[in-house]
Symmetry: C2
């Protein structure tokens, strides 16, 4: 079995983390920011140093390619994303990209060529922290959205995603997707507590959860906050507070099958001297069962409409696009388990609760999602942590799976 250079991988992870580093130990490298540009540049530099051929597509996805002995075959692809939450940690996404790079370096080091080409990919804007929603680079690669729609996305400051892509120099020439891929392998921290609590090193992801969400728009009436009698106020923020509280109560009642919290509140005019006349509250749901997700959506709509009637506020309820549970191919789940076993690592099967680029690539080609533990299940946080031994173990599993897929017959 191949073994990566774990020390080199760890050094790369820590080096990447210095770009957009925060005082509490995280990284702030939101999509298409200056820091994202610098992180991309570092990845491209390392990829070229490893002899890979780098190309960029029109949405900024970066592909670093190692030729196959039969280079006309579709590539085995491995990767994830270098962008972070605002702020995020050192590992979410970064591990999958840099472990892929280290896997290729390992093949180089031992002088192994492969039948199929290998491509290490950095997907654009997985997090959606600056330009919501996320996982869009891979979504477009899978033909599930349009380039025009993505380039026209704006951040909260009104800046166009297309303009930022040009500004940082990553509006590439290559068409997005529309080409065959042999397989896609993504290594990622679990972002939950299951592996750590079970004392298991490798997670073979079997299926996804049912996801949904929505935005509740609450309309009150403008007014002066020092002269309008209390009984005449139609304060949209007070209505939002009731909804936020009740959504949290609903979320607590779902455990362990599902989760939901209100996480976004946009307030207008958001000025102390004015009674807020409009608030948008956003929430995300995950649930093991589709019916559970749908029931939560219905319950939140009832909560919102009841609040509107009780408080004299107008309420609009918009459901976001939903993701339905699917199963990853069983042969790739099995390959993850056997590879881990051959390397002497414990493994277990588990679902993913959240979206990854792998959920889009699943519609393009056979896809595997491989988890390693993270401390206390914490992610999207500066406190995110992955033990060096677990990062190495995940990369060891990845390189052997890449080799298996790239050299398999048939």
């Amino acid at each position: 079995m191949l073994k990566v250079d774990g020390a080199r991988l760890w050094s790369d992870l820590m080096t990447m983390a210095t770009i957009g580093a925060t005082a509490r130990g995280g990284s702030f490298r939101t999509a298409l920011s200056d820091a994202d540009r610098d992180g991309r540049n570092l990845f491209v530099h390392w990829a070229k140093e490893a002899g890979l051929e780098v190309s960029v597509d029109k949405i900024g996805n970066i592909f670093a390619r190692r030729a196959g002995t039969d280079d006309s075959l579709p590539p085995v692809m491995a990767g994830s994303h270098l962008d972070t939450q605002a702020p995020g940690g050192k590992f979410d996404g970064v591990l999958g990209v840099l472990a892929g790079l280290e896997a290729v370096r390992t093949l180089n080091r031992v002088g192994l060529s492969t039948k199929r080409p290998i491509e290490i990919v950095n997907w654009t804007n997985e997090e959606g922290a600056r330009f919501p929603p996320g996982v869009v680079g891979s979504n477009l690669f899978a033909g599930r959205t349009t380039l025009e729609a993505l380039l026209a996305t704006r951040d909260r400051a009104g800046i166009l995603m297309g303009d930022e892509l040009n500004r940082i120099g990553y509006a590439g020439h290559r068409d997005v997707g529309q080409r065959p891929v042999d397989s896609y392998l993504e290594l990622h921290i679990e972002q939950g507590p299951v592996l750590e609590e079970a004392g298991v090193t490798i997670g073979a992801v079997t299926h996804t959860s049912n996801q949904g969400g929505g935005v509740i728009e609450i309309i009150g009436e403008n007014g002066h906050s020092q002269t309008t009698r209390m009984s005449r106020r139609r304060n949209a923020l007070v209505g939002a507070a009731r909804i936020i509280t009740e959504i949290e109560r609903l979320g607590m009642a779902q455990e362990p099958h599902g989760m939901v919290s209100a996480t976004v509140a946009d307030v207008w005019p958001n000025n102390r001297i004015n009674i807020p006349h409009r608030v948008n509250v956003g929430f995300l749901i995950v649930h093991a069962e589709g019916e559970g997700r749908d029931r939560i959506l219905d319950d939140i709509e009832t909560i919102a409409r009841t609040m509107g009637q009780d408080c004299g506020l107008e309420v609009s309820f918009t459901r976001s696009p939903q993701r339905h549970r699917f199963d990853f191919p069983s042969d790739l789940v099995a390959l993850t388990e056997t590879t881990a076993k051959q390397l002497g690592h414990t493994s277990m099967r588990l679902p993913t609760w959240t979206a990854h680029d792998a959920l889009n690539m699943h519609v393009v080609c056979p896809t595997a999602l491989i988890f390693v533990p993270c401390r206390d299940g914490i992610s999207h946080s500066e406190l995110e942590w992955c033990e060096p031994a677990h990062a190495t173990a995940g990369a060891d599993v990845l390189v052997n799976m890449i080799l298996d897929r790239a050299n398999r017959t048939g």
Copy 2:
């Protein structure tokens, strides 16, 4: 008694309202925006047309001067502000400036000169809608803040007030304040329901209220909103919701002596996939008694700290600068009443619940604040409305008070 041209005043009010007009009948002319620039330009055009000499000071306050027969005497000043809330109405502030202009036109029309000069003023950024806090142009004129501090104020997009003042062409050369003013007279809609409910046309404002406010910073912990177990979430937005709800309950219990609502909420990172780790909640208080205001502040601090302990969130509580009740000079209150009576208008004495530029000018010179009714007590709203007859009545009172002050002996 002098009478203004009410039709001309109404026409001017409606013309000014077209600048930054909103679909619901309000105006969106926040300080130093393009619309504010256009509104200022229109005022300057009208002032010059009326033969007034226009000057601008370093914070953008505009003074339109009519010479006195003894032009070395300090001027009688009248005015208010042309900037609006986001959005605001057609009358808040605008009435005081345009009624002042119409008063001067009336003196011109009847060919009356005055001993003292008269200046009609448009104060910069009364509303604080874009660059909080408000009433800063008059505050600086009164020597209660510094030019440097104001120019360094930023809006939510990070743009400097000083840069915007330059951009719109209203960074004047004149020093701010530091000169004697004979008297300051401000006509304004009441922004409350008292005059309308009493069926009275003119309000002679006797005193101010006790004002205060604060910002509560709530710190939780970042986390992934689809993988962090509900029981482990430290969602600052959920803590904010509890505080917002309890502040409203506290406010309802103050009527009719005081008011308080939470009106501002800033959320970080405000992304659906992340548990909010920081929320700032802002609120404003008014109360007839200083002790009442202080008790509300103490109660809100208790609400916030109790929530923090119960929910495992960190709480910081910052009290804003407070305004204490003061009385306007009784001779000017009496002059407002007698002038109204001589014109055949009903009048009554009442306090102001909110801040006006008059509250700053009070420390510079004898000051009068004159109210006219507004529909349903609504202001800071596109629904704001002042009956044409009330606008005219207010302007009639104003021109006669200006004449009295400008020609008085001693």
